[in-house]
């Protein structure tokens, strides 16, 4: 990437439409990160399609100078699945939020991941309904007081990474809107992965749910709480990497490295075919409160739906010959009247 002069500037991926998110919204940084990332690729604009549902984040396609469709609430994974199955050569991006992806569209999200269509799904998780002005979402913490939960939410929230792993996703990652370099790395990894990739992006809604991710973004807190997952490296974090993660049966536990020794610390392997360890890591935090893993949880190879569909078409045409309408009409018993 570094040694290739790219053909594009970020501005090549900016549409002429005025961006209309609230000032200070985390969506701006994600938009900039995505536009910048695409400009580093040697891929023309017309090969990208951005598909969104409904919600603040779902206005995203209007701001991209690529193909795009702003669709129906929750249905972006379905519409993107049709695009990716019809034309596996396209780079299909799904832009969705916690309400769009996990509430109204939960069914489509899990099935898109299980089928492994070649999609890059960016889930902007701000733990609130923003477009409807501040109701709790399926990732809001229990007890959260919002306009629709004046006495505190009694809804137990999803952990999106756990959900994706449970849905047989082949690529699951997490990043933070305010960390541009890490977001760029996750976008690259998701883009390189063939199949459904889900990136949960912790995104700050400064109007309705400000500082929800303070423990991971605050200058004071972040070093203690970000557990950076790096392939092939022992999972250590905190000041001087003094803390680490061990896998104990089906459970991930946080330990002081000094207590167990570095060799006891789990070495991260996102390509592990067994998703149990990735799932255990995803359970380290819920909310997120306290130390929270950031990075690629899982990245494994599995044939994509689009490729398999293409193979079946070719196999059928090879064995039966190309379709002939007259032959089709005469394919059941026929008789002739003189």
């Amino acid at each position: 990437m570094t040694d290739t002069a790219t053909r594009f500037e970020r501005s090549d991926f900016q549409s002429d439409q005025e961006v209309r998110w609230c000032p200070g919204c985390g969506d701006y940084t994600i938009l900039a990160a995505v536009q910048s990332f695409l400009s580093t690729l040697d891929i023309d604009r017309d090969k990208h399609v951005f598909v969104s549902g409904i919600g603040c984040s779902s206005r995203f396609p209007y701001y991209m100078a690529t193909y795009g469709i702003h669709s129906v609430h929750g249905r972006a994974p379905a519409i993107a699945s049709g695009l990716a199955a019809a034309n596996p050569d396209l780079n299909v991006w799904v832009i969705t939020g916690d309400g769009d992806a996990l509430s109204i569209g939960g069914n489509h999200l899990i099935h898109a991941m299980r089928r492994n269509l070649n999609l890059n799904i960016l889930l902007f998780n701000n733990q609130i309904y923003g477009l409807t002005k501040g109701q709790y979402s399926p990732t809001s913490e229990v007890g959260k007081r919002t306009k629709s939960s004046p006495m505190g939410s009694i809804d137990y929230p999803f952990n999106p990474v756990s959900l994706a792993l449970g849905a047989e996703a082949t690529f699951v990652a997490r990043t933070i809107d305010m960390d541009r370099p890490h977001t760029a790395r996750m976008l690259q990894a998701a883009f390189d992965h063939r199949g459904s990739s889900l990136i949960e992006i912790y995104q700050n809604c400064n109007v309705f749910n400000d500082k929800a991710f303070l423990q991971l973004t605050g200058r004071e807190e972040r070093d203690e709480n970000r557990i950076m997952l790096e392939e092939g490296e022992p999972i250590v974090f905190g000041s001087d990497n003094s803390m680490g993660v061990v896998i104990d049966g089906a459970v991930a536990r946080i330990v002081a490295v000094a207590d167990v020794g570095l060799e006891a610390i789990h070495v991260h392997d996102p390509s592990n075919p067994n998703p149990a360890v990735a799932f255990a890591l995803s359970r380290l935090s819920h909310g997120p409160l306290g130390p929270t893993p950031i990075g690629v949880f899982r990245s494994v190879d599995r044939e994509t739906y689009g490729e398999a569909m293409q193979e079946q078409l070719i196999a059928a045409q090879t064995s039966q010959g190309p379709g002939d309408i007259d032959a089709l009409l005469h394919s059941t018993g026929t008789w002739t009247v003189e």
Partner: protein, 625 residues
């Protein structure tokens, strides 16, 4: 000489038409027996029409009334229109089948009964206190009984099937007996069995053995001294096939997509009675057909819309409950002006309703069941073979006008069949789609909502086309640019532009043709699967001295441009429908005529005799007024 005394001389009676109904438990294989009898009759050259009728439960409790499944076939030596009103022959495999079907058998009709099933337990399940075989209650009919189970067991004993499986072939015994009675050849059935089960496989051998045993039983037993012959029909010259409505519809989608030179992409979720379209298309991958069994109805239409955006022709097939779920995404396709075909194989509602039974009650829902101002073309299938043409027409309208098209079929058309004079693929319309490849706006810009002045269609620019990158979506679009616009006048303009497409389509569809006298006393207007019953009913009354005309609508939105003049030209208009009068309301609203509604909402098609009777009642009222 000795043989002659053993076998009574067989009397062979010529009939111009016969209606036969096979009835039994859902597990008795009546649909199969009926289908095979139909296939043999089709090969023989009869005209025919069928009506399969079965419960929604795959296997309701054995021997009970809810578990009864039937298949009616009407064969004739002339061009018939319906599966027949009242059967001439009823095959009853158990007491429940007799109990629930006897009411339809015509007086003096032939009853063929599986005597072995008339035991106390089965009689009780069907609500008989005394066996109808012995209490004299069947004396108005010609009753023939056979111990079909015992005879089948004997027939299959050397084929390798064992235990309870030996009874499974009893439908083939019944089929063999009926085949003898109606002088049908066995070869088409034997060929089918060998293809289906493999040559020399126990199940196939058992079915063939039972089939032949039933046939030979007819020859040898003295009880049956009568056979019937229905000569081949004098149909127009051509090559014919016997297809079901769903099969023809699937083929029409394939043919229509080929005529439009666009790949076909079918997104669907299994639902009765539409599922067999998905199954049929899934077998046709060599045509480049992609089928996607989605996680739900909403995903199925979303996937189809996504495929259309990518340049395929997205089609989604379902029944009424599925259309309800798809409604929001259909509005998206309407608003983004993308081609899409939504097939609604209607069934009796509301809610789950009667999933395997016919109804036409989704007409107003199809026209108006979307939020916002979202008028869509609606076209309807009138018979199994017509499904092919209507599907081709749906692809033409969808791609030419860049619009979703609602295609209405129903459960009766879906499963029933008729001889179809096969069209020539060369006669398909030649309307290849042109995707946009060049900028169409000032300074090399692309205007996704600039329109073809004739059709009002916007350009179809697909991802992967350099220079035409654009965004579409559900928010209101600025005219021409497609950018989001909240401008009040723009919203009104866009609403009118989208609606204008319907006017352009109206100018591009055939005028309605009136069947029957132009100066008739009554016009009967129908749509969809009531075609056969209405046409037969009208013809029947016209054979006496009534003067009645018939118009059958394929286009429900827009209506053909001459429809207003046509309906205004008759003193009375009668609208028979399998709903509570939905088309009659449309005609009243659109043309301010006092259309009379004749609703039927029983989950079964109209009989031709019901239509005739209603017509005579109305004409009679007039005479005395």
């Amino acid at each position: 000489m000795a043989e002659d005394t053993l076998i009574a001389p067989v009397e062979r009676e010529q009939r111009d038409r016969v209606v036969i109904r096979f009835a039994g438990d859902s597990g008795d294989g009546m649909q199969l027996a009926g289908t095979q009898f139909t296939a043999a009759s089709a090969m023989f050259g009869n005209d025919l029409a069928t009506f399969p009728n079965f419960p929604a439960e795959i296997r309701a409790p054995q021997g009970t009334l809810p578990g009864v499944s039937s298949f009616q076939v009407h064969i004739a030596d002339w061009d018939i229109l319906t599966p027949g009103d009242d059967p001439d022959v009823l095959v009853a495999m158990n007491p429940a089948a007799l109990q629930s079907n006897l009411v339809d058998l015509r007086q003096g009709g032939l009853l063929l009964i599986n005597e072995d099933a008339f035991v106390e337990r089965n009689l009780a399940k069907a609500g008989y206190e005394v066996s109808p075989l012995t209490d004299g209650s069947l004396e108005d009919y010609h009753v023939l009984t056979a111990k079909m189970e015992d005879l089948t067991k004997l027939a299959v004993k050397d084929t390798g099937v064992k235990g309870r499986a030996t009874l499974r072939s009893k439908n083939f015994f019944a089929l063999g007996l009926i085949s003898w009675m109606f002088t049908r050849p066995l070869e088409p059935v034997i060929d089918w069995v060998e293809k289906k089960f493999g040559k020399d496989q126990p199940v196939g051998l058992a079915n063939i053995a039972a089939l032949k045993a039933g046939y030979n039983y007819g020859i040898t037993t003295e009880a049956f001294h009568h056979t019937y012959e229905v000569q081949p029909a004098k149909l127009p010259a051509g090559t014919y096939a016997n297809v079901t409505g769903n099969q023809a519809l699937a083929w029409g989608l394939i043919a229509g997509a080929q005529a439009a030179a666009v790949p076909l992409f079918y997104g669907s979720y299994p639902i009765t009675p539409a599922t067999s379209i998905l199954e049929e298309l899934a077998r046709r991958k060599n045509f480049g057909v992609r089928t996607f069994q989605a996680e739900d109805e909403i995903a199925a239409v979303g996937i189809a819309v996504g495929a259309t955006f990518a340049g395929h022709l997205g089609v989604t097939g379902t029944s009424g409950p599925g259309v309800a779920l798809k409604s929001e995404t259909i509005s998206l396709a309407f608003s983004t002006e993308l081609p899409l075909i939504v097939v609604n194989v209607q069934r009796a509602g509301p809610s789950t309703g009667l999933p395997t039974k016919v109804e036409q009650s989704d007409l107003l829902f199809t026209l108006y069941g979307r939020h916002g101002e979202a008028p869509l073309p609606v076209i309807a299938v009138q018979s199994p073979s017509d499904a092919y043409e209507v599907a081709v027409e749906a692809t033409r309208i969808a791609t030419k006008y860049m619009t979703p098209v609602m295609l209405l079929s129903d459960g009766y058309i879906a499963n029933s069949s008729e001889p179809w004079r096969l069209p020539d693929a060369e006669d398909l319309p030649d309307n290849p789609v042109t995707y946009a490849t060049e900028p169409n706006g000032p300074d090399g810009t692309f205007l996704p909502y600039a329109r073809d002045p004739e059709t009002m269609a916007r350009p179809w620019a697909i991802p992967g086309t350099p220079g035409l990158e654009h965004r579409i979506g559900g928010l209101e679009k600025q005219n021409l640019t497609g950018n989001v616009s909240y401008n009040p006048l723009n919203h009104e303009l866009m609403t009118e532009l989208r609606e204008e497409k319907l006017q352009r389509i109206a100018a591009d569809i055939p005028l309605v043709e009136v069947h029957g006298p132009e100066d008739a006393d009554l016009l009967v207007v129908g749509w969809g699967s009531t075609f056969g019953a209405i046409r037969a009913g009208v013809n029947n009354v016209n054979r006496s001295d009534a003067r009645v005309a018939h118009v059958h609508l394929r286009y429900l939105n827009p209506f053909p441009p001459n429809l207003g003049d046509v309906v205004a030209g008759f003193p009375k208009v009668l609208v028979p429908e399998l709903n509570r009068g939905q088309l009659s309301r449309l005609l009243r609203a659109e043309y301010l005529i006092p259309a009379l509604s004749y609703p039927k909402i029983q989950g079964v098609p109209f009989k031709a005799s019901e239509i005739s009777a209603k017509i005579l009642e109305i004409l009679d009222t007039k005479d005395h007024s």
